[in-house]
């Protein structure tokens, strides 16, 4: 890069830093109970907020805040009214507040040539990020971030083996805290052709000392492949009332693409750092399909989002085929019950939010309706709720703001 380009890039950087430090007062912030993220037919993405998901309608044209799609994709973190995201064009991890003028940057942390694979909130203020480098996809780093001051408290390399045989790039699919350690689930993948990707037929977990992140132990479990997934796009795990952690493996075409292994739910007991060898719920065996996305309903029940392989052809139409179903899983009995909902479209979506005894499920259906469905967990009753109008194509996120 020539000196002049660099000098100007620097000037831009300085100007943008100056802009970033502009304070956003609480009065300017737009806060609500819920946040939604849509991809629209116009090609624009929007953020919307709502206080009621059970009634009414919102328009992406008049209620939505248009996003700079090139810089801000759907892999965002939303907590306590703030939005976080890696701006890969600027090599920065960003913190934003939503105002009536849209997302306003509040702070930046350098994050050069990396992307987030997994996140974990150690508490309301401390966010742990696991990132991979964008060249080899095998240099795993941790970042412990104080989101209130928006600064890095600690960061470093997680010293995992970079490959197993000819499987190279890593995928980190979950991270969960134990008493003095963290457990991460991961796997290795490889390309066998231009568009043919597959994953090693084993799930790995590593126990990391917290907060030094020194690798203490590595375990394997060959019952499935590709544990979890990137949790800034969709949830694949949760901790229940007893502190047990559950996650779902995702060897289906949309993530691991290891057809020899089933999609299944596994448990890491509260006092353990290992996957319980005597527990699993084999999803594929029961429904003959793979699933992506797992959300906890409470009281030993969870909901999964599964594909229907009789409806799509290959990954070219996986996302725009109306094929996705939702099943309730009884984690004790290991049984599945299908929810009576329209087929949904969109590969991997953060489409389920559980709040106040209701599971709100965002569905983009074959009639081109984009609606929140309200599943009353106790009675099992399902009723239509909020609709998103005026050009929404996919509701890719629904979460607490």
């Amino acid at each position: 890069m020539s000196g002049a380009v660099y000098a100007f890039a620097l000037a831009l950087l300085i100007v943008s830093c100056r802009g970033d430090s502009k304070p956003v007062g609480d009065a300017q912030r737009l806060t609500a109970a819920y946040s939604l993220f849509t991809f629209n037919k116009s090609g624009v993405s929007t953020l919307l907020v709502a206080n009621d998901l059970a009634h009414g309608q919102l328009s992406v044209a008049t209620d939505g805040f248009a996003l700079e799609t090139e810089r801000l994709d759907r892999s965002i973190i939303v907590k306590d009214g703030y939005y976080y995201h890696v701006d890969e064009a600027a090599d920065r991890f960003m913190k934003y507040a939503l105002t009536h003028a849209g997302l306003q940057p509040l702070g930046t942390i350098a994050m050069v040539d990396k992307h987030i694979e997994n996140t974990y909130w150690a508490d309301d203020r401390i966010l742990v990020l696991f990132t991979l480098d964008n060249k080899t996809f095998s240099e795993l780093e941790y970042h412990i971030i104080d989101v209130a001051d928006f600064r890095t408290l600690d960061r470093g390399v997680v010293d995992l083996p970079k490959s197993i045989g000819d499987y190279g790039g890593l995928s980190v699919g979950f991270s969960v805290m134990r008493e003095r350690s963290m457990v991460i689930g991961y796997c290795y993948g490889k390309f066998t052709g231009n568009t043919e990707y597959t994953t090693i037929d084993t799930m790995y977990t590593a126990t990391l000392a917290y907060p030094t992140m020194e690798v203490q132990a590595i375990h394997r479990d060959a019952r499935s492949a590709y544990p979890g997934g990137i949790n800034t796009v969709q949830q694949y795990g949760f901790t229940d009332e007893a502190g047990d952690f559950y996650f779902m493996s995702c060897p289906g075409i949309a993530l691991g693409n290891t057809p020899s292994k089933p999609t299944a739910i596994f448990r890491i007991p509260a006092q353990s750092d290992r996957i319980a060898p005597d527990y699993w719920v084999n999803i594929s065996e029961q429904i003959g399909n793979d699933a992506y996305g797992l959300w906890y309903l409470g009281h030993g029940k969870a909901v999964i989002r599964n594909e229907r392989k009789d409806r799509y052809t290959d990954f070219a139409n996986h996302h725009n085929t109306y094929q996705f179903e939702y099943h309730v899983v009884d984690l004790t009995e290991g049984t599945l019950t299908k929810l009576d909902l329209p087929f949904d479209k969109g590969t991997r979506k953060e489409s389920v939010l559980v709040a106040d005894g209701t599971a709100y499920i965002a569905i983009d259906d074959a009639t081109d309706a984009h609606r929140i469905w309200c599943y009353d967990i106790r009675s099992g009753r399902i009723s239509p709720g909020l609709t998103i109008e005026d050009g929404a194509d996919y509701i890719v996120r629904l979460e607490l703001q």
Binding site: V15, S21, G43, S171, T195, H319, R348
Partner: protein, 207 residues
């Protein structure tokens, strides 16, 4: 240690010592910058011009109305502009001529993606990739991967039917495993691909 241009360049090319790297990252993290950091307008203009000169000297462009032309260097820009103007004039005067003929854009010998500027579209042909395009008949074949940006709405053959590629939108065209099989995704649809594939495409097509 002073953070200067040389240090930043070393940082971005991965040539820093651990101490230098920490120094740069602390500097980048520092949100306490003070003073008037506004860039004066004359400096902006000069910087813009320098950027454009630096960028343009590194660009390889091609205006390729037919088969067999090799990429031409930027120093032939005058000829290229002349050719482009001529093509544009012909297209404007005689619409049925627009985009007629098959363009073979061969980047198989290159380890870098290469932009080709055509009259009806721009295309970034990936490293070791080759495209055969005829927008008149809707032919779009690829060995490897490419990025396709129509300058007007273009109908492309897709399976048994036609697929509309919209003006101004960015499309990713990937060669499939079976002979003649290829996948087309708009830039917004890329997010639905498996993450590893998204990363590979971003890396190969430097997007």
């Amino acid at each position: 240690m002073i953070v200067n241009k040389q240090l930043l360049e070393r940082y971005h090319t991965g040539q820093c010592t651990a101490e230098e790297r920490k120094c740069v990252e602390d500097w980048l993290d520092d949100a306490t910058l003070e003073g008037d950091l506004t860039v004066p307008e004359p400096l902006k203009t000069v910087a813009r011009r320098h950027i454009w000169e630096a960028v343009s000297s590194a660009i390889v462009v091609e205006e390729q109305p037919g088969r067999g032309l090799r990429p031409v260097r930027w120093r032939w820009l005058g000829y290229a502009i002349g050719a482009a103007a001529s093509v544009a004039l012909v297209c404007w005067l005689w619409p049925p001529m627009a985009g007629s003929g098959e363009d073979v854009l061969d980047n198989r010998a290159n380890a870098m993606p290469l932009w080709y500027k055509q009259s009806g579209y721009d295309v970034l042909v990936g490293e070791a990739s080759r495209a055969t395009i005829d927008i008149r008949t809707g032919k779009l074949e690829v060995e490897g991967n490419l990025v396709f940006r129509p300058k007007r709405d273009i109908q492309i053959q897709n399976g048994d039917g036609m697929m509309l590629l919209k003006r101004g939108e960015t499309y990713f065209v990937l060669e499939g495993a079976q002979l003649g099989n290829r996948f087309i995704f708009s830039s917004n649809e890329l997010t639905f691909l498996p993450p590893a594939m998204q990363r590979k495409l971003k890396q190969e097509l430097t997007i």
